[in-house]
């Protein structure tokens, strides 16, 4: 029984069957990659996991509980954090404030009317945020406006924000899309380090084969809305069906 169990999920957009009969089991503490050609339905699947979309059929269980019908913030509170394709951070706030907000969400829940105490008095939150910034190697940028940072740094910050919540499952949608090689390698190293050092499960959607094969210990290939195969990386490499559907196209 995996930490995330997707059963018979289907999703239709008008005349387009974007997902059909998707079955997926993500094992705890693994790095599970979901790959597939453009338009295969990878992002749609991820949106079904985080509450942005509700599938027409099937079920999605996280740690034995259904996520269907819950709002994104509720699903996050269950222990699933999400990193977006283009980094989503609080651009008008400082880097430190960006890091504090998920810490507040973790400590106080989805809403807390804490209108009279000063932010500076929240020593535990400040400490945690500072610590996380150090871990992400961006402590020197703490007073910068987040919007002013480079794309690689924004991605780093976003991942750090997710990690500060100590999620059990981290979902990433093409985290290296549009990144320069150096930034991509940094991100790979960061994710490797995260999965080695923490008690965390990572599910990653990725186009870049270099990223996939450096990180994943399990791969699902999605084509035209259905999983084609699910296997270990070395078997995926040699699988003729996959070559045809996906790798052949890019080779």
């Amino acid at each position: 029984m995996g930490i995330l169990e997707v059963k018979d999920v289907g999703k239709r957009f008008g005349g387009l069957q974007a997902l059909s009969n998707v079955n997926l089991s993500v094992q705890e503490n693994s790095v599970h990659a979901i790959i597939g050609p453009n338009g295969a339905g990878k992002s749609t699947l991820l949106n079904c996991l985080v509450g942005k979309l509700i599938p027409d059929t099937g079920s999605v269980m996280f740690d034995g509980q259904s996520v269907l019908g819950r709002a994104p913030y509720e699903i996050n509170q269950m222990g699933i954090s999400r990193v977006f394709q283009t980094p989503e951070i609080f651009g008008d706030l400082t880097v430190l404030e960006n890091m504090m907000i998920p810490c507040f969400a973790k400590r106080d829940g989805a809403f807390e009317l804490n209108a009279l105490s000063s932010v500076l008095r929240q020593k535990d939150i400040l400490q945690k945020a500072e610590h996380m910034l150090e871990e992400m190697n961006m402590a020197d940028k703490r007073h910068m406006h987040a919007a002013a940072m480079s794309r690689g740094d924004k991605r780093r910050l976003e991942i750090g924000m997710c990690l500060s919540q100590e999620p059990r499952l981290l979902l990433l949608d093409e985290p290296t899309a549009g990144m320069a090689r150096a930034d991509t390698n940094n991100t790979i190293d960061l994710l490797k380090q995260i999965s080695d050092e923490r008690d965390i499960t990572i599910a990653i959607i990725e186009h870049d084969m270099h990223v996939v094969f450096s990180l994943a210990n399990r791969i699902t290939v999605l084509a035209q809305g259905t999983p084609l195969v699910e296997d270990d990386p070395q078997n995926i490499r040699g699988n003729p069906k996959v070559r045809e559907a996906y790798l052949g196209e890019s080779a």
Partner: protein, 401 residues
């Protein structure tokens, strides 16, 4: 001090000095001088400064922090006024119960309107609030006449019960509003040479309440709640996926700012116990938007400056008429004098809104951060000049609040 850091404490002290010394600051010209018409140190005008200051401070908590632009906040001000006048009619002339009730009623009303309007964001939210406010205005004007007294407006009469007071004073007139006996209209005049300064009890009550309201807004700005509101403005998507429910945050901000508006309305009625539907009209809602943007939305002091600025110029420009202009320009040859007066005429008196419109456009175009940004630029420019003179490296300019 008071749980604020140095910078915020100095802001509070500046506002406190401005408010408490207003009778001097606003009356710089001797009573008989030609410039006396630029004086603004009169009780009713000073009361309006601080009351609209409260209105704008509250509006800024919603608009400045969350970015949700309400076009219906005058409805809460109007509701506050009606509530206060009803307290004067039913309970008595003490302003405390009236002010308390106006805040509570406006808060409940804001809860209702906010709950519905906040289902949408952006322009749709603005339109919803505008629609609600216009609906309230029209109801107050017609259907709700038994409560609001329609077109005439709600006034005190000699028949009002006033169960904790008297219906009429010994000499048969309507009693006046007071704070435990201190009449709101009582004014102490101080003559210093050719100057006359007026200290009005009502004004000082409003000023103290404004200071409390300002202090509270600083605390809110610096609190975790305030930070969440800024996060709402910055990226709601990220908030949702960070486990935060944005709806109660925006609703709380909406209700708090509605209560500030109700407080302003209650104070207005406490200074002059009547309430009319026109206080709820969309122009009144638009005015507080102008004040906040003109002063600097999202800054602490901006709304106070914006409110003072607009109310001052409204009063001064609308008082100037052609006769005044003719005396100013009488030194010019006759034909030219008439021409100059003709050109200026549309901008003064009833036409002062034209002047306001132009000022507003200039500020929005050249100082998007409002008067506060103007002040910061001047400060930055001065410090750069100073450091150049001293041969030192240029000091860093202050980042926007």
């Amino acid at each position: 001090m008071f749980g604020l850091d140095k910078k915020d404490t100095s802001k509070l002290i500046i506002v406190a000095c401005l408010a408490l010394l207003a009778p001097f600051i606003l009356n710089p010209f001797p009573t008989d001088s030609a410039l006396a018409q630029f004086n603004a140190g009169y009780p009713d005008l000073m009361q309006r400064f601080v009351i609209f200051g409260i209105f704008a401070i509250g509006f800024n908590i919603l608009f400045g922090l969350t970015g949700y632009l309400s076009f219906g906040h005058a409805a809460f001000l109007g509701v506050g006024s009606y509530s206060a006048v009803w307290m004067f009619k039913l309970i008595g002339m003490n302003v405390i119960p009236a002010i308390v009730l106006s805040v509570i009623v406006a808060g409940l009303f804001a809860l209702l309107i906010g709950f519905v309007s906040l289902r949408r964001s952006g322009i749709y939210f603005s339109i919803l609030t505008l629609a609600f406010a216009q609906m309230s205005f029209n109801l107050a004007y017609s259907v709700l006449t038994p409560i609001t007294n329609g077109e005439t407006g709600l006034q005190l009469t000699l028949e009002d019960p006033r169960i904790l007071g008297v219906s009429a004073t010994a000499d048969g007139s309507i009693p006046v509003t007071n704070l435990f006996g201190l009449e709101m209209r009582s004014t102490f005049e101080m003559a210093v040479g050719p100057w006359a300064f007026q200290f009005n009890a009502g004004y000082y009550l409003c000023a103290l309440i404004m200071l409390a309201a300002f202090y509270l807004s600083i605390r809110i700005f610096r609190s975790p709640f305030g930070m969440m509101l800024r996060a709402v403005k910055s990226n709601q998507q990220r908030m949702n996926y960070t486990g935060l429910n944005t709806r109660p945050y925006t609703l709380a901000a909406f209700v708090i700012s509605g209560m500030y508006a109700g407080l302003a309305g209650g104070l207005m009625a406490s200074m002059d116990p009547l309430a009319g539907a026109e206080r709820m009209q969309w122009t009144a809602s638009g005015e507080v938007v102008l004040m906040t943007i003109l002063g600097g939305a999202g800054t602490l002091i901006g709304p106070v400056l914006g409110a003072g600025f607009i109310k001052y110029f409204e009063n001064i420009f609308s008082k100037i008429n052609d006769n005044v202009l003719h005396t100013w320009f009488s030194f010019l040859p006759d034909g030219m004098e008439d021409a100059v007066v003709f050109i200026i005429h549309p901008f003064i008196g009833k036409g002062w809104h034209l002047t306001l419109g132009i000022l507003f456009m200039l500020v929005v175009i050249f100082l998007p951060g409002g008067l506060v940004e103007g002040g910061q630029r001047i400060k930055g420019w001065l410090s750069r000049r100073k450091s150049k003179d001293g041969g030192k490296a240029a000091g860093e300019t202050n980042p926007a609040e």
